[in-house]
């Protein structure tokens, strides 16, 4: 059987890679991709834990999987709106670098 420790470990590695991507990269598109990696790490953990407590034949428990569905949905909405913001950034600053959009900092 698949060792759950390793699944959770994979989830942690994936999450760290996502964090690194968001912190290090300066391209907004890649930063959004890294956010997706982090969301997927969480999804993996949800699925794994749902598999650990799957309920019984009569009353299966699918809370974790339903949550993953929710995360996928929200990720899609987030990307749609995020890409809209990116588009506005391209138009006004001609760059995908988030550092360019720092006008509100001052």
């Amino acid at each position: 059987m698949i060792p759950l420790d390793h699944v959770i470990g994979l989830s942690a590695v994936l999450f760290s890679l996502g964090v690194i991507g968001v912190l290090v990269r300066r391209n907004l598109i890649v930063m959004l991709m890294s956010v997706e990696l982090m969301l997927n790490a969480a999804n993996l953990a949800f699925i794994a834990f749902n598999r650990l407590w799957p309920g019984t034949d009569a009353t299966p428990v699918l809370d974790g999987q339903v949550f993953v569905l929710l995360v996928i949905t929200v990720a899609a909405a987030e990307v749609a709106v995020g890409m809209g913001i990116l588009l506005a950034l391209f138009r006004n600053r001609d760059s995908a670098d988030p550092e360019e959009a720092s006008l509100l900092k001052w």
Partner: protein, 117 residues
């Protein structure tokens, strides 16, 4: 239970091997006589002046966003479609309430001209 997926793995492996063989033979057998004007991207005999990777029209992008949203809507339809007999009219009402905002969204997009080409 997982055995039903065996076929997918097998067909994936076979197709990859097949494509590798086809491409491999082609790269081996085909001649190689390269010179600069042959390598030029096709431009009806002219030399390309600008990079082709220019910006695209926003409407393509609006279509992609709409696609993402409706794709997500579809994944809520699939489970409902398989069990809607057991759910009865309550399930029907919930899918109706689920669909309504998206129809409104589509209509909004339509009126705003996001679907005009």
């Amino acid at each position: 239970m997982l055995t039903e997926y065996t076929g997918v793995l097998v067909i994936l492996a076979i197709s990859l091997v097949l494509i590798a063989v086809l491409l491999g033979i082609h790269l081996r057998v085909g001649p190689r006589r390269e010179f600069p004007s042959k390598q030029d991207p096709f431009e009806c005999g002219e030399r390309p002046v600008t990079s082709p990777r220019r910006r695209i029209a926003v409407k393509f992008y609006v279509v992609a966003i709409l696609f993402v949203v409706f794709d997500v809507e579809a994944i809520y339809f699939y489970p409902w479609g398989t069990v809607f007999r057991e759910l009865g009219w309550f399930g029907y009402a919930s899918i109706l309430v689920f669909t309504l905002p998206l129809v409104v969204g589509l209509f909004y997009e339509w009126m705003k001209g996001g679907l005009d080409w």
